[in-house]
Amino acid sequence: MSEVTEPARSGKPQMKTTEATAEDLAEATAPTRFWNRHRRLGVALVAIGVLAAVVFGSVARSATARFTLGVQNTGLALPIDGKVGAIVFGLITALCGGALLAGVARRWQGTLLGVGIVAFVLSFLCWQVAGQYMSLVDIANNTLVIALPLILGALAGVLGERSGVVNVAIEGQFLMGAFAAALVGTMASSVWAGLVSAALGGLLIAALLAVLAIRFLVDQVVVGIVLNLLALGITGFLYERLMQPDAASYNEPPRMPTWQVPGLSDIPVIGPVLFNSNFLVWLALILVVVVHFGLTRTRWGLRTRAVGEHPTAADTVGIRVRGLRYANVLVGGLIAGFGGAYFTLIGAGSFTKNMTSGAGFIALAALIFGRWTPLGALGAALFFGFAQNLPYALSTYNSSVPSQFLNMLPYVATIIAVAGLVGRVRAPAADGQPYAKS
């Protein structure tokens, strides 16, 4: 994940030079210490690698684990002995840790860390799947489906927060979007009308956030939390008054159709996942790319980052700080609204009270874990989607790991990331600070 964030980070050296914060000084002095961040990470990787090799290796059954490329247990597959796999991948993790500990060139450190973590996950999977099969297509598909709203929500957060407006109201935007999609989608019996109104639902909450935070200078985290409760209350109230008594006319939206791209959908694994999919998946992936290039390569992106890092300086050179913030938060609302449409038009198929159940906060975590960059957020969302899907995927193997602990993974990972144990996470400097022209 860390290497995909490089382009975005290298895109803002001009901002970094303008402000020498205490954190920058801390990093500047870091190489002089022997136990720098990568050495500590290396120790951690060696520890979990040895743990995986010994613990997973000893409890794993010595039977073939088949990772199939199709949905069934037939056809192409990657077979590996469960015990051997658990030990080998555990050792790979430990080796990556050892390399970090020994000290390698800076540009390899991110790759080594990534390989180490992936190998640890594979070691775990070999232990769990030994003697049975796991469909890689299913895993990839479900991961992407669960990650879809997270990607869109995190992207909405990126837009707001890079320009300096904290968006804790992603959850509320999801709920409003999901509700509007179900209501309008049913009444117009059109999935596209539902999708558009979902975006408008998200926009509504975003507009409240923008006005209160930018115009009335209310604390942005407070507004976000309160707007979440407001969205929860309004959608819950209207659900009980309108949708519950008469579901047929208010709460049976059409499902979003699945489209197949001929030719491309025959590629193994990637084909069925990406090219036998729905409009929202493509929209999300396109938006990630668009926002990434927008932020790093366009005038709008430079201005957004300037406003998010140092609004006074941006104002001095003639950038309209508040206008840009309004625009970004509102566009973010549209995107988060699309994310909300997922819940009713693709996921559950109808609206229920509090149906997002904290997905907005996982999106927030993905945004932070992805270091406030679109590609990082995509990676984090996919990782969290994988972690959330794992309990379902493992439930067929009588797994001994409780699903609740696997579900904790996104939150624990975010705490570790924010506490600076894995990579340095730094928010835009002016994130959350209202700008009042003096």
Partner: protein
């Protein structure tokens, strides 16, 4: 809510009445609070009208017979809000029944009892958020700390056989310690690594919730007679004493008032309170003055977590009596609203918690008698706090004069 004596101080040569009238329509805390509540109730009324099929039908021929639309809207709103009042404060029917001997005294005081029952945990979580705010920290983790407090209090309540009184004290202390532990982590991380407490506490909320759902289906915790996710009941000796029967109010509210007094003393009279207010006002200056900011942050989060943990403990020992996945309800997030409404002052928070308790208790009656969903209360609560948090908005809507005290609209958290 909070008295604002400094705003009402009369000027030389002015009669009291003139000063009072001038200040009445200015943006002081009392006026803004009252207007916020009124606005929220108006928005609630609009939602009720919009969502009611029959009333909407009368608006279809509004130009032909406008009286229909207005009477039906009025009837809908007045019955709903009358039920809200009857459920929260007093029910005239029950009072007259008690007076002429056909009903018991329990029915007459049930509404107030319900209000105080719902208010008690909110006082604790509200104080937790308010205290952290004063020290410059935003404790969104009240929910998680309350959940952990629920868990430790309940486990202490059914795991060890202890005599009456002592058992309840032990269970409450267990809740306190559980919450403290859950507050310690974000405090420590904030102090040591600068990790923003908002992010950490949001994540810890979910971890606590997932831990609870895992714990209550484990052997030794789950109620052996039940197949659903519910723990063993808390021993009678550990439950907070209540009046009994339909009157559910228990010692929790008494404890809440005592703790409010304690927090008020801690904040305004103790050394730690001084230090935390100094750190909250300006960490750099506090550091220069010799106050350890890191130590204050950690200790503050421990105390805030402990308060929220006590809130969870009163919930489980006072009313719930067993752990369920939703045992802590929404008391952590409601505590956030309560603290904002109470302007982060201890006694203000107590008043705000009682108002929220009243809305909740009245909402129950409104739901069962008028068929208005309890969610309306959530909307009203959220809207009140939106206006409280944005006093400039209320000022614009009502063309209020600027208040002389610039207490309103102070920003508290500073982004990530």
């Amino acid at each position: 809510m909070t008295t604002t004596t400094e705003e009402k101080a009369p000027e030389k040569g002015d009669s009291f009445a003139a000063t009072f009238l001038r200040n009445l329509w200015s943006a002081n805390t009392v006026t803004v609070t009252v207007l916020s509540i009124v606005l929220a109730l108006v928005i609630g009324a609009i939602l009720m009208i919009v969502s009611d099929e029959d009333v909407r039908a009368t608006f279809g021929y509004l130009t032909a017979r406008p009286s229909d639309a207005f009477t039906s809207s009025w009837n809908l709103i007045s019955t709903a809000y009358a039920d809200l009042f009857k459920g929260a404060i007093l029910d005239p029917a029950a009072i007259s029944a008690w007076a002429d001997g056909s009903g018991g005294w329990q029915a007459a005081i049930t509404p107030l009892s319900e209000t105080l029952t719902y208010a008690a945990p909110l006082v604790f979580t509200g104080l937790s958020v308010a205290l952290a705010f004063r020290g410059g920290l935003f404790n969104i983790g009240g929910q998680g700390q309350a959940v952990i407090g629920c868990i430790t209090a309940a486990v202490a309540g059914f795991a060890f056989p202890l005599p009456f009184v002592l058992h309840a004290v032990v269970a409450l202390v267990a809740g306190l310690i559980g919450g403290m532990a859950w507050g310690f982590l974000p405090g420590l991380l904030k102090a040591r690594t600068g990790a923003h407490e908002v992010i950490i506490t949001i994540m810890l909320n979910y971890i606590a919730g997932l831990f609870l759902t895992w714990l209550i289906i484990q052997k030794g915790v789950q109620n052996a007679d039940r197949s659903d996710a519910i723990s063993k009941p808390v021993d009678a000796s550990a439950q907070l004493a209540s009046i009994g029967g339909p009157v559910r109010v228990n010692l929790g509210i008494v404890l809440a008032v005592l703790v409010t007094a304690g927090v008020a003393w801690l904040l305004n009279r103790s050394v730690f309170g001084f230090e935390l207010r100094a750190v909250g006002a300006n960490p750099a200056a506090a550091k220069t003055a010799g106050i350890s900011v890191a130590k204050t942050y950690t200790l503050l989060m421990v105390v805030a977590g402990g308060l929220a943990g006590l809130g969870g403990a009163t919930q489980v020992l006072g009313t719930a009596h067993a752990l369920t996945p939703a045992v802590a309800g929404n008391i952590g997030f409601d505590g956030l609203l309560v603290a904002l409404l109470g302007r982060n002052r201890p006694w203000g928070t107590l008043g705000a918690a009682i108002l929220f308790g009243a809305l909740r208790a009245g909402g129950n009656r409104m739901q069962s008698f008028s068929g208005i969903s309890l969610e309306l209360v959530t909307v009203v609560q959220a809207v009140i706090v939106v206006f409280i948090a944005a006093p400039a908005l209320v000022k614009t809507i009502f063309h209020l004069r600027a208040a002389r005290s610039a207490r309103l609209g102070a920003s508290m958290a500073k982004g990530w």
